[in-house]
Symmetry: C2
Subunit: 439 residues, 2 copies
């Protein structure tokens, strides 16, 4: 696990004034990475770092040739239109670049004058997914989500016998992962109407969001090798927000016996910004099991995980509808949970994923699964919040929702806060549901 160093010092301030505003997502202590370009100019995408309300252009910084050593080597990898090569270079590379950027961007840096022209207002930028994702794996790591969903189907026995032992996951679709801001049409699919004996093809009615943390893989592992728990975090580049949109009516009809397929592969939305594990070091918390639960198998258990395997990332899902936007009503928060309540940690997910020799590649994306908290109001999906669609939510202005309607926009947010440290944020992952296209 990353240790605390000078980059985490809460006393640090930047010569980029907006980075020093309290409560912002992108202070000097964060320095998340994305792939970006200025909008509307036909530019190439390249790496960028968020600071306050600006993006530092890493392509231009490389051209300036003001960094040296391993930081300069890492920077050279950030000039490409994906960050796969940078991610592949491992935690040493990102830590070196992060430390050099922290020094260059802090108050008093001799580089201020030369770097100031490299800042581009975020309002003038556009993004793509930070990596070319080879494989996307989605876990099911919140026991609160698994229990709530299981209760809808099996009231007497909500949690399956394997849940507390196996970090359950499935392979998702890589090709339909899109960055925040890319809207998508309501999917069609086979559904079995209640009471019907034959299915029909219909635009999905029970469209849902899922509030998740995404994990970009850094260094990969060879096929046939496993990544031990103690080394797992050295294979992580950083974390983002992830919304695994789900068509619950399609899912209910198709998922037996091989799991979800068309119910989830039409769109997955991620935040543009990827927060490194280094930046998250101050927000590590102990990972604990209830005393009456058996410990996990030894390949998923060690003292480091128990001490600080979890990360306290506050997660939120917000909704605004076309009607609310038309009337100027503010978005409504639907979900609020923390990744610290996850039953499995990031390192446990990776150790499990590779225990059979499965190879992870740089830029692969891992989803945490819907992160719901222990309280009903902390549920991370509409399926849970509305108890399977039976208890509609009332929104500002009086509209109600069981599942998402056309024009609804869901925005995920995430951030870390801890006394004595500067708050860092993940930005947002948002998209709007467009009407289904004609078949």
């Amino acid at each position: 696990m990353s240790t605390l160093d000078a980059t985490h010092d809460p006393a640090l301030t930047s010569w980029v004034a907006s980075a020093n505003a309290p409560g912002g997502d992108f202070p000097l202590q964060n320095l998340p990475f994305a792939v970006f370009r200025r909008a509307g100019r036909g530019e190439s995408f390249r790496g960028g770092v968020a600071l306050g309300d600006a993006v530092l252009d890493l392509g231009a910084l490389h051209a300036l040739a003001v960094l040296e050593g391993s930081a300069a080597q890492a920077l050279a990898l950030c000039t490409q239109p994906t960050l796969n090569a940078f991610m592949a270079a491992g935690p040493g590379a990102s830590a070196a670049l992060r430390a050099a950027l922290s020094a260059a961007l802090r108050c008093g840096s001799p580089l201020e004058e030369r770097l100031r022209p490299l800042l581009i207002p975020q309002a003038a930028t556009e993004y793509r997914v930070a990596a070319q994702v080879g494989d996307f794996t989605d876990f099911y790591a919140s026991i609160h989500h698994a229990t709530a969903v299981g209760r809808l189907f099996r009231p007497d026995n909500p949690l399956l016998p394997n849940y507390k032992w196996v970090p359950i996951a499935y392979h998702g679709r890589a090709s339909s992962i899109r960055v925040s801001g890319q809207d998508f049409a309501r999917p069609w699919g086979q559904v079995l109407p209640q009471g019907a004996t034959q299915p029909q093809l219909a635009a999905a009615r029970r469209l849902d969001y899922e509030l998740e943390v995404g994990v970009f893989i850094g260094r990969g592992n060879r096929l046939g090798s496993c990544v031990p728990l103690a080394e797992a975090e050295s294979h992580v580049f950083g974390l983002c927000l992830l919304n695994d949109w789900s068509a619950r009516d399609v899912q209910a009809w198709e998922y037996q016996p091989l799991g979800p397929f068309l119910a989830k592969n039409f769109a997955t939305t991620v935040s543009p910004w990827v927060v490194t594990l280094e930046a998250l070091a101050p927000f590590r918390v102990s990972w604990v099991r209830p005393a009456d639960d058996p410990p996990p198998l030894s390949y998923l258990d060690d003292a480091a995980q128990r001490r600080a395997g979890a990360i306290d990332i506050q997660l939120e899902a917000w909704l605004d509808t076309a009607g609310m936007r038309a009337r100027g009503l503010p978005a409504q928060r639907l979900s609020h949970s923390s990744f610290r309540d996850s039953w499995w940690t990031v390192a446990q997910m990776l150790a499990h994923h590779t225990v059979n020799g499965c190879n992870l590649e740089p830029g692969d994306l891992i989803g945490s699964g819907t992160q719901s908290g222990p309280l009903p109001a902390q549920a991370g999906s509409l399926l849970e919040l509305t108890v399977g669609g039976r208890q509609p939510l009332t929104l500002p202005g009086g509209e109600t929702r069981t599942f998402l309607e056309d024009g609804d926009r869901v925005m995920l947010r995430g951030w870390c806060e801890r006394d004595g440290y500067v708050r860092i944020g993940f930005g947002e992952a948002a998209a709007t549901v467009l009407p289904a296209l004609p078949q």
Copy 2:
């Protein structure tokens, strides 16, 4: 669907004598594509076409500049170390190149003298997967397989209610797809021993093969668009053999509720050669449902499918063990089925996969799922052949098997035969199970 043309003429013979031997996989009427290089020379991989016992080097052919027009344009795409760009160019490109190669390689071609030096003995070549696979989807399209597997778990109700309506599939792992000849270690995984209340980490004991057809996607479709049934085959580049190795004990413990994960993502083996849909045109057969079954939903049903949606590809799985090889015993055929018995056709799989707007990319790989026939002896996996491991098979030399042991080599074969046409084959997809590595 591709139509019959001069390239299918059974009277055609090649100036490559080995292509004219009866019963071979690679006559002039086939012309499958692969990515290859000469072994042991540090060469770059590039496209090749199989003919008899040789490979025609498409990189060298491009350099000769003897083809013209669209065939030459398509050939230029075959010089790369993956065929993704060639696949993306669509069926017109592969048909043009196939027709030009057919003309250039037939007896009497004026190009014989110039092309002869471009032939490399297959014995001196090595291969990689024909495309960089972005996403791998595995269907479950054999109703005989689904019924036999279902019977092991639910004797009274083997087939789930959705089976006859939904082309069931799950997303598999792209990173662990390997070409024939690449062996793999027995995977570790969580298993629940019979009668135990707690799982353990163990090397999988119930390791199985799955006899499948693979489909490489040619032209892709945009996210949000669907591919109608009538156009689906224009998005197919060609077919190969595919073995979706499966750890049944891991699968049984992990698969609820999200489907198989570590039980299948440790290795998938494909044949190097991809047979184009054009080459398969003579072997199309009608796709029929039993009279007492409901027709599929209209997006999965049309007259063209009913007339010739299926393909009669004979499929076999052969086993030899370390002991059999040491004693010089021949391999034993375990499975023999035909893809014509698949409940869903290739076009139906693609139309379903995209009906929700999911985007397919050139080079994506689709598996058909285990292809079992209607008779017990036509089962395409050991799970079925041994009735869940309860009825061991006896092999030449007296060894028995329920599931695969270390040193076992499974080889898949496939071919098409029909009166009045020349037999065409798929080559083989083989790999050997190596002992589990120490954890």
